[in-house]
């Protein structure tokens, strides 16, 4: 257990999430990718808080802000998906070409 190890795992989570965001067609799967990316950054934050920030509680506050961002991302994501689905009947990105027009 070390700072380097934790950051490595966080980087891997972030990368997997990024892969999902870039590659998936389904909105819900893209959101999963975003969640994983935020998850990775959460882990990195806590690791830095533990090893490098001397346990300053502000580090944990930052982590809580990240988790809030995660919740907001999910809520807005679901709301947007619902709206797009209502208006366009689309649930994968390829169907949204008409959005560009």
């Amino acid at each position: 257990m070390s700072l380097q190890g934790a950051l490595l795992i966080a980087a891997a989570l972030f990368a997997v999430g990024l892969y999902g965001v870039l590659s998936q067609q389904s909105f819900v799967m893209i959101m999963m990718g975003f969640e994983l990316m935020v998850n990775g950054s959460l882990m990195a934050t806590v690791a830095l808080w533990l090893w490098a920030a001397g346990g300053n509680p502000k580090g944990q506050v930052l982590a809580i802000v990240i988790m809030t961002a995660m919740a907001i991302e999910a809520a807005m994501g679901f709301a947007l998906v619902t709206t797009i689905y209502r208006t366009r009947k689309a649930d994968i990105t390829e169907k949204l070409r008409r959005l560009k027009q």
């Binding site: 619902t82 689905y85 209502r86 009947k89």
Partner: protein, 435 residues
Amino acid sequence: MTARASAGWLTAVAARAEAPVFLARGIGTADADARLRASPRLRVLDSPRAAAVLVVAGCVPTELAEPLARVHDQMAHPRATVWWSGAGDSAPPVGWSHATIVGPRDDIEAAVVAAYRDVITGARCSEQTLLPDVDPAPWRGVGPYGHGGTGMTGGIPYGRPMAGRGDDRRDGLTLDVVLARIGPFFAHLPEGLVLEVTFAGDVVHDLTVKTPPVAGVDGLGARLPDDAVTATMAPDRAVPVAAIELARARQHLRWLARLLHLYGLDALARLVATKALSVPREPQELTALTRRLERCWALGWATRGVGVIDGVSAALWGGPVARAAGIPRDARANSPVYATLGFQPIVHANGDNCDRWRQRLAEAVQAIELAARAGTAVTEPGETIEPAAPPPPADFGDQLAALLIGTEWGDAVATIASLDPDVNAAGYLSKGATV
């Protein structure tokens, strides 16, 4: 202790448990549910999976033989069948030779317990599957990935179509729907009724009656052992009023037991089922029960405003359903003998599930009162007899669809149960009524 000895010890303990029973109701089985449910040595299950004894009650028409076999094959081992044929003269069809056969006047409880004990302890072999164990559709082989279907987002993989989105029934958000077939041995539907339901989540998105309830073939309905009244009931004969009214009370109480079970009140259901088996002769014996149910706010809360039937539809359903909706139509009101007994039809106003159970409970109490007062009075030959549960309307399927589409499945099941379109009970009681 060897493994064998410990297994013997285990089975000996298991054999003393309440026998888990799944009841497959055939024709002429108004009594079966209450008889099994009232017994402390049995446990009636809603699903055959965990049942050890399959009780086939009444006559099973040939078109239901295969579904019945499928229900049988779903049960876990060890399993046994008790064929409770009602009249006792109809042998089970080929393939059911292992089943215990019980006659109408035999002790069904003892037979089920014995079958359970034997099959658990190994004195009797667990029954083999009746149908071949094959997939309904091939699971590999077609399509670009060998997955059995065509197209990524549609097509018919494995021989069945993907779910489609149905029109919205609620708030403008169209969702996926799933088509399923419920019946013919679903515990809370009338015997033989098969519904094709399209579910959007918990909501009944669409509903069609695939097969109507099995109507009693002539004479079959009258085979119930304890319904002496039905045996004597004929249009050209005078029938004792007391017998009619006790049969009515019994029918209503049986129905109430099933409804209480549906709402999860199993202990009360057992109490009511016991009362249905030996209908009390004093109306006071039901006052405690009535008060308890009327005071059970949760039951009122769960049933009020659900499945409202009024106006023309209520008149079509007739009987207690119509009277619960405020239509005071009752053949007994025109009967001279009932007039001498001071009969007044009971009505309720709202026509919802709540008023329907209140209606039937009040009618059961009234029926016991009438029976006590009637003494030896008899109806006039040829007189119309009000059935306890009248036959369902001719456009049964349309009525159900109009009533249930858009409701939640729990409400839909409760509404069907509250209508009590018990074609068999209705069959014979109304046979006395017609002509």
